[in-house]
Amino acid sequence: MRTFARNLRRGFFYFIRMKIVNQSFKFLVLAVLMFLPTSNFAFNAEVDGGQVSGKQEVEEYIVHHLKDSHDFNLFSYTNDAGERKHFGVALPVILWTSEGLVTFMSSEFHHDDNGQVIVEKDGQKFTKIHSKIYELEKGATAVSFDADHHATNASKVLDFSITKSVVGILLIGLLMLFWFSRLAKQYKTKQIPTGFGRVLEPLVLYVRDEIARPNIGEKHYRKFTGYLLTVFFFIWILNLAGLTPLGFNVTGQLAVTACLAIFTLVIYTASGNKDYWMHILWMPGVPIFVKPILAVIELVGAFIIKPFSLLVRLFANISAGHIVLMSLIAIMFTLKDSLGTVGATSLSFVLSFFLLLIELLVAFLQAYIFTMLSALFIGMAVAEHDHEHEDHGHEVSSDVEDVRGDFI
């Protein structure tokens, strides 16, 4: 194992020395290496589920993968002695407990996820159950569960840990910052970018010309393009990262999609003009007794339905993609008995290959839809209605309703 790690690291340096790889890949490698000194590779025999083979285990494994994790596990295996070994990076755990801030490395949980390993820190006891960290009540030495497998003597703590998703956000954020600031720098010396910038420029133009400009309008689009570009590339690159064996599931975390949706909500609420609020609170051109009813509907639409449609769509699509892809990969184990090793493996390969192609499309599509709808909502908030036609606003919103209907 250690030789493998050494080989891997030597391989990385070899790549860098040979300068075969392009700049961006080098950066990715450097970013990974940056995390290595703070990490301690965990090679302990563990108490988790062991090898995954049965249907039940596959299901549990997928559910486990969909959740955020406190360490960056690349792969696990069982060695000849029957020990379970994990290869990956431990990440810092940062908790806000009843007695203040507590930090330790996630390796202290020893890959346990069932509340069996108790970590004592500053006189408090912590355990991890289904990717959530619980603080044990005073005096308790082990977690007791009720019939629904809920902990009875432990409570959840606010968990600001650098989890795998946070690492993903940081990595992708740095990558984006690196790529696009380099592109920005290129324009100082030349009119047309070269190298990787030549790939990025059309994408930037695409978001600006196909998403921001038509949906928000020529007059206001510039103010919001920065946000839309950031969100588009953030979601897209993270979706793609989720398809790599690194196994990120950042855009499949409700907390992350909620954060993005709330950003959009805040932006279009803050930039809404008088017309926008008029159309929500006191819809012109309808009988007076309908106005309050419409106001309630519009308020619910603006503050609950719109952000929820954004956050749930992204979350559900990416989660579903991960579930289906992992299930197809799991065909290798689950159908081994009926199809034989070769049959099950090749079936799994073929199916997951085609699903991966679809998921590549979905990765882009979801980034596009999220950005597009954000732009649309912002566009509705800043649109300047022509008061000659009182029903103009209805037309716009009914169009929006149609579009939304297509996407939901």
Binding site: K67, D68, W96, K132, L158, D159, F160, S161, I162, T163, S165, V166, I169, L170, G173, M176, L177, F180, S181, L183, A184, K185, Y187, K188, Q191, E201, V204, L205, R208, R222, T225, G226, Y227, L229, T230, F234, Q253, L254, A255, V256, A258, C259, L260, I262, F263
Partner: protein
């Protein structure tokens, strides 16, 4: 729904919000603003260049039209000049002919006058010559007649006879 709410991690929400805010701020400052303004500048540059090219094209067309017009004018001028020259030539020839004819007529008239006057002179000379000749002849004849007396009488008689007849 309960599992969903259970899966929602407030800590991750806070951390991702902070990171996203930082990312958006950094991206806007270091990437999007310079990129978008450079792209805008470039697009405006391209638009300007296109407009300039269009203008140059139009000017070129104008220039060409001017040239064409000048050429046309020059051609017309040449034609009129040629025409005038041709007319001048015919006129000059006609004039010359006229003059020549007049000169010839004048010369003919002079010649005729000269001929007439020569003729008159010749006639006068001839007359005087003939008169002298006749006088000589008459003198000889008379001298011959008067030498014979009978003949003189005869003559007187014939002359008298003539005189009575008159």
């Amino acid at each position: 729904m309960e599992t969903l709410l259970n899966d929602f991690s407030p800590g991750l929400f806070v951390v991702s919000t902070i990171l996203m805010l930082a990312l958006i701020a950094l991206m806007v400052k270091f990437a999007w603003k310079p990129i978008l303004s450079s792209l805008n500048e470039r697009e405006e540059g391209i638009q300007g260049a296109l407009d300039a090219a269009e203008k140059a094209k139009r000017e070129m067309a104008n220039l060409q039209a001017d040239n064409q017009r000048l050429l046309q004018e020059a051609r017309l001028e040449r034609e009129t000049m040629l025409k005038e020259a041709r007319e001048l030539k015919t006129k000059m020839i006609a004039d010359a002919e006229e003059e020549a004819k007049m000169q010839a007529n004048k010369m003919i008239a002079q010649a005729q006058e000269a001929i007439v006057s020569e003729k008159k002179a010749a006639m006068a000379e001839l007359k005087s010559h003939v008169a002298g000749l006749s006088l000589d002849i008459a003198e000889k004849v008379v001298r011959n007649e008067l030498s014979n007396k009978d003949k003189q009488l005869e003559l007187v008689e014939s002359m008298l006879g003539e005189a009575t007849l008159n």
